[in-house]
Every structure is written in structure tokens, then in C-alpha cells.
């Protein structure tokens, strides 16, 4: 069965049409009736800068994609391979958040974004980039959000110190309560001893009295 790719009118109704949407018949069909754009663009692309002619069939065209090395500089480690590479990829992947998931690392996620990021990490580590360089590369692209463990600086310090501070405050509260109870118990013991002593004295007297 063929998957439809056209813009369903229902989606347009639900999401609203942009203001640029042609006024006459705001339906997807009208888009196809704007050939000058596509034709003019195609023409300008053919003649424009940065656009090569298509390759001959079967011709291998290397160098496609993006050169991470231009962003990262020179590798500062040794190229890894085999099990060592697998281990390094796992370590890096465990630290990086999957951008399309809820609090899952790219090591734990099966999302295609996570797979692509794992592959990128593997490629960089195999080229000799260190774990720190690879983590920094992702952080420079996605922001600190991509780190599952935020760096201990600025407002993040709250995240790092709050649990310890809470445990400390709770501990102090409990210790204070215990100390109070102990002093109260000591006071009670002293009082009971006194009562016993008095009672003993009185008891002797009482026994003889009754």
C-alpha cells in the first residue's frame, strides 16, 4: 500500500494555515499550481553556486556529509578498534541523553536519533578523538541538555548540592530530636529515681504504718 505524502486538508484545518497560504482555495492542491517557484528554483539551483552536476551512475562520490573534524580540531587520543572501541562507545553513549527520549541515554534508546549519535560517537572514537572530545562535540551541538549528568557549575550546583544538603538537614533534625528525647529521658529517669527513693522511704514508713 502506498503511503500518502500529501498534506491532508484535515491537518490544515486542525493546525491552521500560515498567512502566506494562497487565499483562493486554501487547500494543498493549490500548492501544485505554483509551478514558477519549483521551476525557477530548479533553474537557479542548476546554475547557482555550490551545486555540481549529478554523478554518473555508479560513480562513488566521497566526502559527503559533514566533517566533524573541522569542528573538533585534531584528535587528542589513539584511534580505537575492536572491543576497546565497543567499550569506549558504551561509556560515551551512557553519558549522552537521547534528544528524542525522556531521560534515556543514547546507549539505552532504540530511537533512530540515538542510533545515529552512537554511530557518530563510534566514528569519532575510531578516528582517535578522546571521550572528552566526543562528549564536548555533542554538547556544542545540542547544549548542556544532552549531558545526562549536568556539569557542576552555576545553577546546576543546586542539583548537585541539594540532595546532600537535604540529607544533612534531615540528619541534624533527627540528631536534635534524639538529643532532646535523651535529655528528656534523663530528666524522667532522675525524676523516677527520686520518686522511687521517696517512695521507698515512704513505703517503709507506709508498710509499718499500715
Amino acid at each position: 500500500m502506498r503511503r500518502a505524502t500529501g498534506i491532508p486538508a484535515a491537518a490544515v484545518v486542525l493546525l491552521g494555515a500560515p498567512a502566506f497560504w494562497p487565499a483562493s482555495g486554501a487547500t494543498p492542491g493549490i500548492l501544485a499550481a505554483l509551478p514558477p517557484t519549483a521551476a525557477a528554483l530548479a533553474q537557479s539551483q542548476d546554475a547557482g553556486p555550490g551545486v555540481d552536476q549529478p554523478p554518473a551512475e555508479g560513480e562513488y562520490r566521497p566526502g559527503l556529509g559533514v566533517e566533524a573534524s573541522r569542528e573538533l580540531g585534531d584528535p587528542q587520543g589513539e584511534p580505537l578498534s575492536g572491543e576497546e572501541l565497543d567499550r569506549a562507545v558504551s561509556l560515551v553513549a551512557a553519558d549522552i541523553r537521547c534528544p528524542k527520549c525522556q531521560a534515556l541515554s543514547i546507549a539505552d534508546s532504540g530511537a533512530s536519533s540515538a542510533q545515529a549519535m552512537r554511530a557518530e560517537a563510534r566514528s569519532l572514537l575510531a578516528s582517535g578523538y578522546t571521550r572528552d572530545q566526543v562528549v564536548r562535540y555533542f554538547e556544542q551541538r545540542y547544549g548542556e541538555f544532552v549531558l545526562l549528568e549536568p556539569r557542576a557549575r552555576g545553577l546546576n550546583l543546586i542539583v548537585w548540592t541539594a540532595p546532600a544538603a537535604t540529607v544533612l538537614a534531615g540528619g541534624l533534625l533527627v540528631a536534635r530530636r534524639l538529643r532532646r528525647r535523651r535529655s528528656a529521658d534523663e530528666g524522667l529517669d532522675a525524676y523516677l529515681r527520686q520518686v522511687k527513693r521517696d517512695d521507698g522511704d515512704d513505703g517503709d514508713n507506709g508498710e509499718t504504718a499500715t
Partner: protein, 178 residues
């Protein structure tokens, strides 16, 4: 004792309220891109017809890069706007589409049915999307004549947004390079 309880209660509740107040004023889906103000990552990608587009070679002209897919409903919504934008600023601004984790055949079919606003570039392995820190489609990056990312739109681009950034891109002259 009551005052003490009140103070402890305030000590616990106030920070929580402050954090919530700060959090509710921000859309958790929107993460500021650290790439704004940085040089746009260079790439060379093939479009659906095998033509190679090299971003470096487009330097000197503003570029709009849109990461999109056919399964992304906001991408459908912004499609006519990008068509209009590409037509309006033809020759002044390059509009490039980068396919985000989608089947090029579906993209071709979509383009045939709805028209195109620029080349649909095949990003094998999603490496360009990673270099641009794309969380999900659609995301649009606006690059000035010098190759610096000046703005980014998350979700469907609005006409106001496109108009505003396009005017800024066209108004800024290229910095003289040595």
C-alpha cells in the same frame, strides 16, 4: 512552635515555588541552541537527483536550512510558507531542505504532489542533523552571508518569523574578509 513550623514550611515551599515559577515560564520542549552566533557546520550533501550542494560554496548569500520529513505534520504546515519565501527571495536567499530520517522516495513523492521550495538533501546517517544539534523536525536554521547561524526556529516557521529573519539576513552586509 507555630512560628517555627511556619518558617520551616516556608523554607521548603518557597524554593519549590520559585523553581516551578521559573519552569512554567519556559517551554521544556525548547532548548536554546548553542550554535546561534557560531559558524554553521559545513556540509556537502546530494539532493534527490544526485546534485551535490556544498554549503561553503554558498558563502556570501544568506541560507535557510530546514530539517524536515514527510511524517512531520508541522512540516506540512510550513511547506507553503517556505514555498512562498523561496519564491519571494529567489536569488537573494538560498533555501535548503535536509531530510531528517525519512525515505527519499517519500520525499520525492511529497515534492511531486506539493511542489518544492529548494533541494531536498539526503543526510545519510543523520550526521548533518547531529552537527546542527537537531532534536526533531522541523527545525530551521538561518545563516547569514558570512556563514554564521543568526537564528533558529523550532517547529513550523511562522510568517512573522520568516519575514523578520529574512529582512535581517538581507540587511546585514557580508563582513570584509582579508
Amino acid at each position: 512552635m507555630n512560628r517555627k513550623v511556619l518558617l520551616i514550611g516556608l523554607g521548603i515551599c518557597l524554593p519549590v515555588l520559585l523553581v516551578l515559577g521559573f519552569g512554567f515560564r519556559h517551554d521544556p520542549q525548547i532548548v536554546e541552541s548553542p550554535l546561534i552566533g557560531q559558524p554553521a557546520p559545513s556540509f556537502r550533501l546530494a539532493d534527490l537527483d544526485g546534485n551535490i550542494v556544498d554549503l561553503e560554496e554558498l558563502r556570501g548569500t544568506p541560507v535557510v536550512i530546514n530539517f524536515w520529513a514527510t511524517y512531520c505534520v508541522p512540516c506540512w504546515v510550513e511547506h507553503p510558507l517556505l514555498m512562498e519565501g523561496a519564491r519571494r527571495w529567489q536569488g537573494d536567499i538560498h533555501f535548503l531542505g535536509v531530510i531528517f530520517q525519512d525515505d527519499p522516495n517519500l520525499i520525492a513523492q511529497f515534492n511531486a504532489e506539493n511542489g518544492t521550495w529548494g533541494p531536498s538533501l539526503i543526510d545519510e546517517g543523520g550526521r548533518v542533523a547531529i552537527a546542527y544539534g537537531v532534536y526533531g523536525p522541523p527545525e530551521t536554521f538561518f545563516i547569514d552571508r558570512d556563514g554564521t547561524i543568526v537564528d533558529k526556529a523550532i517547529g513550523a516557521v511562522t510568517p512573522e518569523q520568516l519575514l523578520d529573519v529574512a529582512n535581517r539576513l538581507l540587511a546585514s552586509p557580508a563582513e570584509a574578509t582579508g
